[in-house]
Symmetry: C2
DNA sequence: TTGTAGGCGTTATCAA
DNA sequence: TTGATAACGCCTACAA
């Protein structure tokens, strides 16, 4: 309990407890194989010296970092926080820490200071990629630890993937609109290259083709409130009776844009979103949307990473989605 | 470029380049002090071997982790994501990584496996605490790295603090309501022990006391949409003409609750929030609120931590706030 | 069940 | 400007 100038090392504890450093080490890593007597002595000495394990030494010796890196396209975007919470939860139970890197904030290509430096076994024991726009070559180096892609994905990146059933979600949403009698349906999509946008467009096409239809228009947004609002003029010009939006934020933004133009939802135009963010139920008109369980998605990603690290083959998990009917879509 | 079974070490590079390991090390940490000739040779050997620096070795040698830990009360809460983005940005420029820990997910007291184990120089080079409810004793150990508190705070925790001017924000909000002629003002507050709630209550009191008034009631919420909605009945019972809410989520939740009860905002009741989350402008009635710049708050916290680490004295920064007038509050 | 001793990969000191 | 070498703190054969 004294306040030593130098933090106590495993050696100090050993001396004080009258045992060897190996025994002290074992008390920390595998207590069951040391005798009760030695263990008690060590525990007492630990308390007396205020010793805490120096993780740096252990990590070097074991060639492991004790942390997993999550690559997020935009850390300020609340969409990802719930996924991160799910990841964090599973990692914690496995004794691993969560490192977070915002891919916008880091040079994607520089060989010396860029992202490449992080994709290294000495930086993280594994990587969870939430950004589908990164160069797959980054992950193909033999120095790169196990990788799992979650939510967005990219062909060419090795390892397991965990995704919501995006196509099915979009199909459900559009089928719902069709069942309500809508025929002029517009798709307010995400960025064109984005893997989510692509899958959801497939679902839209699948649903519409049953009726021999196509979207009256596809407008490209940026998954943001603002881009939804700004799409209002183009949406109105296409005269749809209903709009399927690739996420809730664009749907809520569009709601505002339509209101500014004097159009009512769902009176003039029906709206369906995607994600079921918490705010969807509190939008000006409670939003009908597709629920995807973001915490579960994060948990699954972490679990896949752990089993991949343990040598299990990488599989791909597709998580079910479901339609959440509220008040923003009604019969034509 | 070959694919060695064992990752190349600094030794391999040195041999290949015909120099000593010390020189190779210097090329990485301080290139200017090595001759052009040696440097070129090393760079060539690095490329040929595919060598990447093993951070574990460096960290042990330098007794540093290369990462800062952020303690977040609830990682799934979008309020914190923008703060984290600000933190991450500044850390990155300083060559530090961001570790995130959800304090809900971790045992707060267990001496062997709890939070205490993380507050250790071998785990992180510094700590940014966004949770005001943690036991201050945790941070008082000599083994604990530098600490900065941000947003919420706790007397007894050492180190710098960075806060929004919560009292002033609340004062501005209530003064605005008073100027609109409101006299029956209710305070929908956060949890009673929360430091934010306390400061904001002071601001409310300060503004009201100028008119010799007090809140018609103080209702305790949980900073969530749901708690705002659930407060509606109690709010209505107190018959205020205006409500100041400790955050935007509760204000938007309350808006929904009031609408369900057939009351209109701002027709029947005026509302002011706090935070200016992005959704505030897209609420059923665009929300008048107090803007606090969360990204800047995170940046400042990280900067304070860095300067504290470099031995500068710890100061406390109070960040300005400003009133954002929209449409949820109007004259009585 | 315990102890001894070598090594994980790097950097910093010191001398050349 | 460079090289040899001793740490950094811990874990784990291996031997006792």
């Amino acid at each position: 309990m004294s306040s030593p100038s130098r933090p106590p090392k495993i050696h100090d504890v050993a001396k004080r407890a009258g045992v060897s450093v190996a025994t002290v080490s074992r008390v920390f890593s595998n207590p069951d194989i040391v005798s009760e007597k030695s263990r008690k002595a060590v525990e007492k000495a630990v308390l007396e010296t205020g010793y805490t394990l120096n993780v740096l030494g252990r990590n070097l010796r074991q060639s492991q970092v004790g942390a997993v890196l999550a690559l997020v396209p935009n850390l300020a975007n609340p969409f990802f926080s719930e996924i991160l919470a799910g990841i964090s939860e599973v990692l914690r139970d496995a004794g691993l820490n969560l490192l977070v890197l915002d891919t916008r904030q880091v040079d994607r290509s520089s060989p010396t200071h860029g992202l490449r430096n992080y994709l290294n076994r000495s930086h993280a024991d594994g990587i969870i990629v939430l950004d589908g726009s990164l160069d797959p070559a980054l992950f193909q180096s033999p120095a790169c630890p196990p990788v799992v892609q979650a939510c967005e994905w990219n062909e060419g990146v090795p390892g397991a993937r965990v995704l919501a059933d995006n196509a099915e979600g979009a199909r459900l949403a559009v089928a719902h609109l069709l069942a309500l009698g809508h025929r002029r349906i517009l798709h307010l999509a995400g960025p064109r290259q984005n893997s989510l946008s692509v899958s959801r467009a497939e679902g839209v096409a699948a649903a519409l083709s049953c009726e021999g239809l196509e979207p009256v228009a596809v407008i490209e947004g940026a998954f943001t409130l603002r881009s939804g609002r700004e799409a209002a003029a183009a949406v109105i010009a296409a005269r749809p009776t209903a709009v399927f939006c690739d996420n809730d934020e664009m749907a809520i933004g569009l709601m505002a844009g339509l209101a500014e133009a004097g159009l009512s939802v769902p009176g003039d135009i029906s709206l369906v979103g995607f994600d079921n963010i918490e705010m969807a139920a509190y939008a000006p008109v409670p939003l009908t949307t597709v629920r995807q369980r973001r915490a579960v998605l994060g948990q699954e990603a972490a679990r896949l990473l752990l089993s991949q690290r343990d040598g299990d083959p990488s599989e791909t998990r597709v998580l079910p989605v479901e339609l959440c009917i509220r008040q923003s879509a009604r019969p034509v």
